[in-house]
Amino acid sequence: MHLDLRLPIGLMFGIFGLILTGFGLVSDPKIYQRSLGINVNLGWGCILLAFSVFMLAMAYRAKRKSH
C-alpha cells in the first residue's frame, strides 16, 4: 500500500507522549499515590515520545531510500 503505517503510529504516540509529559509536569503530585508515588505520566510520556521518534525516523529513512 502507499501509506507508510509508521507515520500515523509515530504521530499518534507523539501526541500521546506530549499530552502525558505535559500533564505530568503540571499535575498535582497527590494523584500519584496510586502509582506508588511515581510520576508515571511524566516517565511513561517520555518513553512514548522516544517510541514516536523511532517510528518517525524509520518512516523518514524509508522515504529517503525510495527516492
Binding site: 500500500m1 503505517l5 500515523p8 499518534m12 499530552i19 502525558l20 499515590q33 496510586r34 502509582s35 506508588l36
Partner: protein
C-alpha cells in the same frame, strides 16, 4: 473518597485515538478500487504489518480480559494457552500450511476447501463461519458496552452504538487494509498501555528488589492463596509441575488432556484454519511474507503472558487501597466496587437480595464472596493508573475490543461475498458489484452484530449455547485440513462426512458428560438424563476432551469414507493444494539466513521451550 471518573486529559487521549482510527479509514479510501483491494488488501502488505495484525486480530477482548481472569483463577498455568496452545500451531501454519493457502490463490479458507474437496464441504464451513463471526463481533460489542457501563457509568446504548459506528466507518472506507492498519495501531496501543501496569503491579506486590525479587515476592503471596485453596505451594507460579492429576491444580486438568486437547486439537484447529487470522497472512505481498506472518506474530504472542496474565495474578494478591477501591458508584451497576473486594483487589460478583439491595454472591460451601474474575484486569487499571495514564490504559482496553470486532467483520464480509453470495446467490457479476456487496455486507454484518449484542442482554444463556455449538463445529476442522493438505487420497465425500460426524461426536460427548458442579444443561449432560458417563473436574477439562473426541472421529471417518469413495479430483486439480503435488520452496534466495522462515521458526521454538522450562 475518590470517584473513578475520567479527567479531561483522559478524554483527550481517547478522542485523539478515535480520530486516528477514523483517519486511517479516510486515508485508505482512495486505494480501494477492486474487490481484491477491499477483501485482500490487493495482496500488497509487508510481513511486519500482517504479522502484527495477525496477532492483534486475535488480541480481542477475550484475550485481555479473559486471560487476566484466568491468570487470577489459575496462575501461570494460563500460559499454556500461549506456549503450548498457540506457538507450535503458529509455527506449523507458517512453515507448512501457508504455501497452500497463499500459493493456491484461494481468497478465503472456505474457498480452499472448495478447491481441495468440493462444494458441500465449503458450504458447510462458510455458513457456520459466517454465522459465528457476526455473533462473536456482537459478543465483543456487548462486553465492551457492559464494561464501560460498570467502570465509568457510560450509557450502555451509547458505547454499543459508538463502537459499532467507528468500526463500520473505517472498514466501510478502507476494507481489510483499514482493519489491518488499525490492528497494528491497536497492537502498539495495547502493549504500551498495559506495560506500565505490569511494572507498577510487580513493584507493589513483589517489592523493589528488581524483576527476580519481585517475582519471588509474588510467588510467596500466591503460595498463601494456594494454601487456602487446598493446593500445594507453587501451584499458581509453576506451569507444568502440578499437572499429573486433575485434582492437583485449579484448572482441573491433567497433562494428557491439556497437551492433546489444547496443545493439539484446539490450538491447531484455531491457528491453522480460522479465516479471521489466516486472512491477514493472505493479504501479504509475497509468499515469503505470508509464511513469515504467523512467525513474526509468534514473537509477541510468546511474550504476551507477561502483559495479560501477570496483571490477573497481581490483582489476586494486591492490597486494596481504601481511597481507590471504594470508587463512588457512578451508576447503580457499579455496586461491585462499593462492596469490599472478594480477593486481593478483585470485586465480588453481585446479585440482588430479596429487598432488591445489591449483595455479594456467596460460595454455597465456604460462605465466602465469589470473586468476579473478569474484573481483575480492569480493576488493576483503576487501582494503579492516575488520570492521564488511565486514559491511555482504558483506550487500550477499548482498542482490544474493537480489534476483535473488526477482525470478525472483515472475515465475515469476505466469506459472505466470495463464498456465499458469489457462489450461490449471484455468480458472474462485475467486480464492482462484489466490491459494492463487500461494503453492503459490512453494514449488514455490523447491524446483525448489534442485534446479537442486544439479544445477549436478554438471553445470556443463549449466547453460551451458541458458543458451545460453534465449538462443536470447529473442533474437528483441523483433521479435515491436515488430511487435505498432506494426503492426496482424501476425497470430498470423506471430508464432508468426517466434518459432520466430528461435529456430532463433539455434541454427543458434551451431552453425555458433565463438569463437576454443573448447574445447567448448557454445561453438559443434556443427553445423559441425570446419569452422565463421566464427570470431569472442570469445564475446561470437558472442553479439551470434547475436542479430542471430535478430532479423532473426524480424522478416522474422513480416512474411512475416502477409501470407500472415488477421488474425483485429478492430480492436476490438486497441484498447489496438496503437499506431495506441490513443488517445495525450501529457501527464499533473496532473504538473509536469519530472515528465512525456517530460521525464524527455530528461534521462536527454542525461546518457547526455554520459557516453559523457566516456569516449569
Amino acid at each position: 473518597m475518590e470517584a473513578v471518573h475520567l479527567g479531561g486529559v483522559d478524554y483527550v487521549i481517547l478522542i485523539v485515538y478515535t480520530l486516528f482510527v477514523l483517519g486511517i479509514g479516510v486515508a485508505l479510501k482512495r486505494f480501494m478500487k477492486t474487490s481484491t483491494d477491499f477483501f485482500l488488501s490487493g495482496r500488497s502488505i509487508p510481513a511486519w504489518i500482517t504479522g502484527l495484525a495477525f496477532i492483534s486480530a486475535n488480541l480481542g477482548a477475550q484475550e485481555v480480559i479473559g486471560m487476566g481472569a484466568s491468570g487470577a483463577k489459575y496462575g501461570i498455568m494460563t500460559s499454556h494457552f500461549y506456549w503450548l496452545g498457540a506457538i507450535p500451531a503458529m509455527l506449523f501454519v507458517g512453515l507448512f500450511m501457508m504455501p497452500f493457502y497463499y500459493g493456491s490463490r484461494a481468497r478465503s479458507v472456505p474457498e480452499y476447501l472448495k478447491l481441495r474437496y468440493d462444494e458441500k464441504t465449503r458450504g458447510f464451513n462458510a455458513v457456520s463461519f459466517a454465522v459465528m463471526t457476526v455473533f462473536s463481533s456482537g459478543v465483543s460489542m456487548y462486553a465492551l458496552a457492559k464494561l464501560m457501563e460498570l467502570l465509568l457509568g457510560w450509557n450502555f446504548h451509547f458505547s454499543l452504538a459508538a463502537s459499532a459506528v467507528i468500526v463500520l466507518f473505517y472498514i466501510f472506507l478502507g476494507g481489510l487494509t483499514s482493519a489491518i492498519y488499525n490492528e497494528v495501531l491497536q497492537f502498539f496501543l495495547i502493549v504500551l498501555g498495559f506495560l506500565p501496569l505490569v511494572f507498577l503491579g510487580l513493584k507493589d506486590v513483589g517489592g523493589p528488589n528488581g524483576l527476580l525479587g519481585a517475582w519471588q515476592g509474588l510467588t510467596t503471596k500466591l503460595n498463601a492463596v494456594a494454601a487456602t485453596e487446598g493446593f500445594s505451594p507453587g501451584t499458581w507460579t509453576n506451569s507444568w509441575s502440578h499437572l499429573s492429576q486433575a485434582a492437583d491444580n485449579p484448572m482441573g486438568v491433567e497433562w494428557f488432556g491439556l497437551v492433546m486437547g489444547l496443545g493439539f486439537v484446539l490450538s491447531f484447529g484455531y491457528w491453522c484454519t480460522d479465516f479471521l487470522v489466516i486472512q491477514r497472512a493472505m493479504a501479504a505481498d509475497s509468499m515469503s511474507a505470508a509464511r513469515r506472518t504467523p512467525l513474526i506474530a509468534a514473537v509477541p504472542k510468546m511474550l504476551f503472558p507477561a502483559l495479560v496474565i501477570l496483571p490477573g495474578m497481581i490483582a489476586l494478591v494486591a492490597a486494596p487501597h481504601p481511597t481507590v477501591q471504594r470508587a463512588a458508584a457512578t451508576s447503580e451497576k457499579a455496586t461491585a466496587f462499593t462492596l469490599p473486594p472478594a480477593r486481593g483487589i478483585i470485586p465480588p460478583k453481585v446479585e440482588k437480595d430479596a429487598q432488591g439491595n445489591a449483595v455479594a454472591v456467596l460460595d454455597p460451601k465456604t460462605k465466602q464472596p465469589v470473586p468476579d474474575y473478569d474484573l481483575a484486569t480492569p480493576m488493576m487499571l483503576l487501582h494503579y493508573f492516575p488520570t492521564g495514564l488511565l486514559g491511555l490504559g482504558l483506550t487500550a482496553l477499548m482498542a482490544s475490543f474493537m480489534s476483535g470486532m473488526a477482525g470478525n467483520v472483515t472475515a465475515f464480509n469476505t466469506v459472505w461475498t466470495y463464498d456465499i453470495y458469489q457462489s450461490y446467490i449471484a455468480p458472474n457479476k462485475s467486480d464492482n458489484h462484489y466490491l459494492w456487496m463487500g461494503r453492503a455486507s459490512t453494514v449488514a454484518g455490523i447491524a446483525v452484530s448489534v442485534g446479537a449484542a442486544y439479544f445477549a442482554t436478554q438471553f445470556n444463556n443463549i449466547m453460551d449455547v451458541l458458543q458451545l455449538v460453534f465449538g462443536f463445529v470447529n473442533a474437528p476442522l483441523f483433521a479435515t485440513f491436515m488430511l487435505g493438505m498432506f494426503w492426496r487420497r482424501a476425497t470430498g465425500h470423506g471430508a464432508f462426512c468426517g466434518l459432520l460426524s466430528g461435529t456430532v461426536a463433539a455434541a454427543m460427548h458434551h451431552g453425555w458428560t458433565v463438569p463437576a458442579g454443573a448447574a445447567s444443561l448448557a454445561k453438559g449432560g443434556w443427553l445423559a438424563f441425570g446419569h452422565p458417563l463421566h464427570v470431569y473436574r472442570s469445564e475446561m477439562a470437558q472442553n479439551f476432551w470434547t475436542a479430542i473426541f471430535a478430532w479423532t472421529t473426524c480424522f478416522l471417518l474422513t480416512i474411512l469414507v475416502s477409501l470407500c469413495t472415488r477421488q474425483n479430483k485429478t492430480d492436476d486439480d490438486l497441484r498447489g493444494l496438496v503437499y506431495s503435488l506441490t513443488p517445495h520452496v525450501a529457501k527464499d534466495e533473496h532473504l538473509a539466513w536469519y530472515a528465512q522462515p525456517a530460521t525464524l521458526a527455530l528461534l521462536v521454538l527454542a525461546a518457547t521451550v526455554a520459557l516453559n522450562i523457566l516456569f516449569w
